[in-house]
């Protein structure tokens, strides 16, 4: 049963990755990357249990954290860019 779940997660990761490649807008990429990160957390938690890695749960917890921080950083980047567009209005730089 664990194996089935792991395969399902891998399939979803590939799907998310395809979306990250295609992603027409940057928001899509951000969403896909976030989803990919969550799937990685699950993959490590389940796979680590299946293969009995050592202290895999610490790493999974860290991933969940890092994923969140990364998403927020990306969002902040959008805003800054928008703000720059308003202020600079030149766009030549």
């Amino acid at each position: 049963m664990l194996t089935a779940a792991i395969i399902a997660i891998l399939v979803t990761m590939i799907l998310a990755l395809v979306r990250a490649f295609l992603g027409p807008s940057e928001y899509d990429r951000m969403l896909a990357a976030n989803s990919f990160g969550t799937k990685t957390v699950l993959l490590i938690a389940l796979g680590g249990h299946a293969l009995s890695w050592h202290s895999y749960l610490d790493v999974a917890l860290l991933y969940a954290m890092v994923n969140f921080v990364g998403t927020i950083a990306v969002m902040r980047f959008f805003e800054n860019r928008k703000q720059d567009g308003k202020e600079g209005s030149g766009g030549a730089s």
Binding site: W53, H54, S55, S93
Partner: protein, 134 residues
């Protein structure tokens, strides 16, 4: 078959390394060059960790009932290398930011052209001060 499975990791490493190398030597954008350096770095990390792996081994944390551990030495080296790598990347980024402020561009070609133009005007003006035109 066994050989292929055993060497596959090395080929991945070589591929990644060459990808990073290609980015560094052929792309003009400085930020992209740094990303290429990151790729190259990661491939070296994978190479070391691959060498440290032992079949049937476990992570090198002493637990009861486990007798084969993977080699801890490459882990130590790479662990510090990752942190040092991010520090050097940060220095590179700081340099890029400064370059962008000075030249208004992060493309190698444009910076080069600007440098050339700068030199030319200076020669034409005849201002002989050999000031910083690096």
């Amino acid at each position: 078959m066994n050989e292929i499975a055993g060497l596959f990791n090395y080929w991945v490493v070589v591929f990644l390394m060459m990808a990073g190398f290609y980015v560094v030597i052929s792309q003009g954008n400085l930020v992209k060059k740094l990303v290429g350096l990151g790729l190259f770095q990661a491939s070296v990390f994978i190479l070391y960790i691959t060498m440290g792996n032992l079949s049937g081994g476990r992570a090198p944390i002493v637990t009861e009932g486990v007798f084969i551990y993977s080699n801890p030495l490459p882990h130590v080296l790479i662990l510090t290398a990752i942190v040092v790598g991010v520090a050097t990347t940060a220095v590179g980024l700081a340099l890029i930011v400064r370059i962008h402020e000075a030249y208004g561009s992060v493309e190698e070609d444009e910076i080069h052209a600007l440098d050339m133009a700068d030199d030319d005007t200076r020669l034409q003006e005849g201002a002989g001060q050999e000031e910083s035109s690096e």
